[in-house]
C-alpha cells in the first residue's frame, strides 16, 4: 500500500497468471510500498483486474499501462508480494480532492 495515502484500497483477490502493468509515470514503482529502487519480482494480478476495462491499465494509478510492475526487494523479503492482487481499486481521497480543487480554480 502506498506510504503516503492510507485510504487506497487494494483488490487483494487471489492473483492469476497475468502480470500487472504500470504507466510511464509509475514506471519502476513498487505496487506494495511505492519504493522506486531495487525491483525484484513481477507483480501478478487477479483475473478480474486483468480483463475488460482494466486490461493493460496501470495497477497503481489507472493510467495507460506501459511496462510490467515489479515488487521491490524489501516487499519480497517481507512477503508483501504474497498478500494478493495489488491493483488499487479506489480513487483515493487526495486525488479526488485535488481534482475538485483544480476544477474550482479552472473555472
Amino acid at each position: 500500500m502506498s506510504r503516503a495515502q492510507f485510504d487506497l484500497v487494494m483488490c487483494l483477490k487471489q492473483p492469476g497468471t497475468t502480470i500487472g502493468k504500470v504507466c510511464e509515470r509509475c514506471d519502476g514503482r513498487c505496487p506494495g510500498c511505492d519504493s522506486l529502487v531495487n525491483s525484484k519480482k513481477m507483480a501478478r494480478i487477479c483475473d478480474d483486474c486483468s480483463f475488460g476495462n482494466f486490461a493493460d491499465r496501470c495497477i497503481i494509478c489507472g493510467g495507460k499501462g506501459f511496462t510490467e510492475a515489479y515488487y521491490c526487494s524489501e516487499c519480497v523479503r517481507t512477503e508483501k508480494d504474497r498478500d494478493g492482487c495489488p491493483k488499487v481499486t479506489s480513487l483515493g481521497s487526495s486525488r479526488v480532492d485535488m481534482f475538485y480543487e483544480k476544477k474550482k480554480k479552472g473555472q
Binding site: 492510507f6 529502487v37 531495487n38 475488460g52 523479503r77 479526488v96
Partner: protein, 1072 residues
Amino acid sequence: MTDLDNRAKTQSVKLTGQYTAPKLVEDEIMEEVENSPVVVSSVSSGNGKSVYSKENDYQRRKYDTIQQMEKAGDESKSYKERMKLKSLENGQEDSSKEEEKGLERRKQRKRRWDVTDEDTNQIDKKTKVDGVIETSSLPTINGIELNDEILNKLLPPGFVKIPQPESYKPRDDELPDFSNFDASGNADGYMIPQESKMLVEAKLVNPAMISDVSGIGELQFFKEEDMKYFGKLIVKKDVPPESMSVDEKKEIRTMRLLLRIKNGSTQNRKTALRSLTENARFLGPKVLFDQILPLMMEKSLEDQERHLLVKVIDRILFKLDELIRPYTHKILIVIMPLLVDSDLVARLEGREIISNLSKAAGLAHMISTLRPDIDSSDDYVRNIVSRTFGVVAYSLGVQNLLPFLKAVCHSKKSWLAKHTGARIVQQIGMIMGSGILPHLNGLISCVADSINDENAQVRIMTANAIASLAESVAPYGIESFEEILQDLWGGMKKHRGRGLAAFLRAIGSTIPLMDEEYANYYTREVFKILSREFSSPDEEMKRTCLKVVQQCCESASVLTKKYMLNEVLENFMTNFWNRRTALDKRVAGLCVHTTVTISKKVGCAEIVERILVHLKDSAEPFRRMAVSTCDTIISEIGSMDLSDRTVHRLVDGLLVAFQEQTTQDPVFLNGFGHIIKSIGIRSKPHLPSILSTLLYRLKSKSPEVRLQAADLITQIAPVIKLCGEEDILAKLGSILYESLGEVFPDVLGSVIAALGSIVVALGAASMNPPISQILPTLTPILKNRHVRVQETTIELIGKIADKGKEFVNHREWMRISFELLEMLKASKKSIRVAANETFGHIAKAIGPADVLVTLLNNLKVQERQLRVCTAVAIGIVAKTCSPFTVLPALMNEYRTPEVNVQNGVLKAMTFMFEYIGDMSADYVYAVSPLLEDALIERDLVHRQTAATVVRHMALGCVGMGLEDVFLHFLNLLIPNIFETSPHVIRRIMDGIEGCRNIVGPGLVMNYLLAGLFHPARKVRHAYWRIFNEMYVQSCDAIVPFYPRLDGVGPAPAMEGNAATRTPDIPELDLMI
C-alpha cells in the same frame, strides 16, 4: 435597504474574503448596467459554477423527483406504506382497464412478489365506492357532516368561503384522505401560520455583512443560499448555550461543523471533518442527515461543495453503520443522481457511497428501499435505480441478488419492471467486467425470456444487456449464450431500425466468444446484413456497424484478406470515410478504431493508400481523422510494406496536413512524429522539405506554431541522426540556441526540450555552439518561474552532466547546484525528481564533497518539503558516489544540536540505506551509535525516522550475521509500541518487522509473551498487533516457540494416586 444590497442578494455573489473594485468604479459599472438595454438575468441558480447550471435537462430531473417525494411525504413512509400506495395507483389503473375491456376476473393465481393482494384491492375499491355514496354532498368526520354551520363553529374568525371557480370539475374517483385525521388532537383547527420569529430575524440579517460566524473562524465565502440552512447560527449567536436543549445544542454544533467543512479553508475543513466523523454516533443520524441531505439538493451547490458533503456522508456512514438504516432511502435519493453525472469522478464517488451504504444496510433493506421505484413510470427514476442495483450487486455479490433479479425480469405485471430488470443486468455487466463469469448462467436466464417480449423497448434493452454481458466476459462463457443464440438470431431477422441495431450489437458481441467454426458462420451471415446497413444514415446504426465489424475482424478467420478486399473494403470506405463521419466525434473515433482493426487483416499498405488522399482534404476534422488513422496503423503494424512511392505520398500528405492545421492539434504533431520515426532511414530524401517547413514555422509569428515546430524537432531528432545528417542537426542546434531568448514560456520550454533531444542525438562533443557555451546560457533560465521551462531546463542540464561533464568547469557546476536547490521547492513533483537526479549527475561529475556541503547547509531551512527533497538528494549523492564518501560528513552533521538538521540526516540515511540494499552491511556498526541516540530521543520524529532507517538496513542485510546489533535495535524499538500517532506507530512496526527478519521470530516471540495476556486491553492490543503481523509472515516458524504452559489445569496429584490425575493440557490447544 439600498439598491446595491438588493443586487448583491439577487446575484448570489460570494460574500466573504473578496476584494472588490473601488466604490467609484463599482458605481460606474452599476450605472452602465442599469442603462443597458439587456436585462441581466438574476435567477439565484444562475451561478455559472453551480452543479445545477452545468446539468442537462435529464440530470435536472432529480430535483423533480425529490419534490414529488416530498409532496407525497414518501420519505417518512415505511416500505409497506409506499408499496401500498404504489399498488393502489396501479390497482386503480388496472381495474379501470379491465372494466373497459369488459374482461372477466381471472382465477385466483399463485401469489407473486409483484402482484398486489387481491383482497386489499377489493377492500380499497369497496371503501371508495362506499365513500362516494355516503359523502355524495359533503365530507364527514366522526359522523359529523362538515357543513357551513359546523365549520363556522370550528374555525376561528377570519375565514371566508370562496365560491368554486367555474373551471373546477371535481374528480369523483378521488377523495381527500381523512384516514389519518385525528379530530381530538386538532381541536383548535387550522390556524393561519404566523411567520416564525426566527425567519423574520433571519430576513433582517444581511448575508453580505457576514464575515465570520461565531465559533467558526474565517470562512472562504458565505453565500446567500447558505443563510437558508445556516441562518440559525447567525440568529442564535447571542443565545447562551445553557438555555438550549440538548438536541438544539447538537443541531447547532453539527451546523457549525458542516459550515466549516463546506465553506472553510482547507485546514479548517480537515479538523471539522475529523471532529464530525468522530462524534457522528454522539450527534446521531437524525441531526446529521436532516442537515446534510437538504444541503445536497440545493441548486446553487458547487461541484466542490457537493464533493465535500459526499465525503462527509461517506465518513459518517462508516461510523454510524447500522444506525443509518432508517435513512437509507433519503440518502439514496440524493446520492443516486450522482451515478448519471457527466463527470467520471462524481460517478465513482456515488458508486463508492452506494457500495458502502449497501454494506451497512444489508441487501434485504436495500431491495425493499429501491423496490417501489423499479416499475416507476418515469424513465429517469428507473435508470438511476438500475444503476444503483448494479452497484449493490457489485458490492454484495451477484449471487445474492439473483433471485430478486429473476423475479423482476419475469414480472408478469408490468413491462416496466422487465425493462428495468434487463437494464440492471446490463449495468452489472458494465460494472463487474469478467467478474460476472461465475454467475453468467443465472444472469442470462434472467433475461433470456425477454428476447421475445411483446414490448419493443423490453426487447431492445434485453439485447443491450446481452451485448454488455458478452463484452465483459469475452473471450469466455459461450456455453451460457448458446441457448439464446437462436432467439437473438431470430430477433435480428425480425427487427428494423433501432431494434435491429441492438440485436446486431448483441450478436456481434457474442462472436468473439465463439469457437472458430461458429464465429465464421455467424460472421458471414452478419456481414450480409451489415453491408446492407453500411449506408444507413442513422447514427446509432452507424456506430453499431463499426463496432460489429471491429469485433468480427478481431475474431473470425473467415474474414480473409481476399474477402475483405473484394466484399467489404470498398463499401466500407465509401460509406464511412467521408466528411460527415468526421464531424461526429464518437463515430469518427470508432471509425478510426475499426479501420485500424481492418488494416490488421488486409495489411498496412492497402488502407494507408486508400486514406492518403484524405490527408489533403479541405475539411480539417477529416484530415485529423486521416492522420490519426495513419498514425495508429503505422505505430501498431509498422511501415515495412509501404512502397517508396506510398511513403513519398504519405510524407507529402502529412506535410500538407501539418501546414494547413488551424488549431495546432497534438494529433497532427504526434502523428507526424510517430510516422517519421517508423519510416526511419527511408525519410532521408524528404528531410530537406520537412526541415524547411519546420524552420519556416520556427520563425512564425504565432507562438503556437513555433511551439509545435520545436516539439516536432524533439520527436524527429533521433531520425535525423539515423539518416546520417549530423550537419543538419548541428545547424538545428545552433538555430535553437539562438531561440533561447524566446519570450513565451511554453515555447521556450519546447525549444529547450528540442535542444536536449539534439544533445542526446548528436552527442555533447559535436554540439555547435559547444556545451561550455550552452550551459552558462541555461543557468539564468533556471530562474524562470514557468513549470515547463524549469522541467526541461533541469532535464537538459542533467543530460549534459551525464554526457558532457568534462566540457564545463567546476565553478559553473557549483553555480548550477545552488540554483538547483531552489528547484527543490517546486510544486510539481517531476521538477523535484529531475532536480534530485541532476544532483546525482553533478556529484558524479565534480565529486561529492562540494555538492554535499551545499546540501547539508540546506537542511537548516524551515520548509519541510525542501528538507525532505534535500535529504533525498543526499541519498542519491551517497548512492552515486558510494556511501563511504558521504557518511562521515552526514554523521558529523548529526552532531548539530538542531532538530531539523538531525531529522534531515536521518531522512537522508533512510533513502541511502534503501538505495544501497545489501551494501548496508558494511556500515551497520558504524552508524549504530547514531541510531541508538536517535531511538532514545525525546522527539517523536527522531524515533520514527530512525525506525525506518533500521528497517531498511535490516532488510538489506538479512543473513549476514549481524544479529547482535539488530537485537540491540529491537531492544530500543520495543518500548515505542504504545505510540498512538498513526505515522509513528506504522514506522515503529515496520522497524520491528525489519529486525524480526534478521533475529528470527522466535526471539521476538519472547518479547511478546510478556504482553499478550496482559490484563490491560491497551497493552494487549499493542502486543497482539505485533504478533499478528508476525503470524502472517512466519506462522510456521513460530510454532516451536510457543510457550510451555505447564502450570495449567489442576495441580498434579500426589504420587501413587494416578487414577485421579488429569492429563496435561497440551499448550497448543490453549494457543489455538
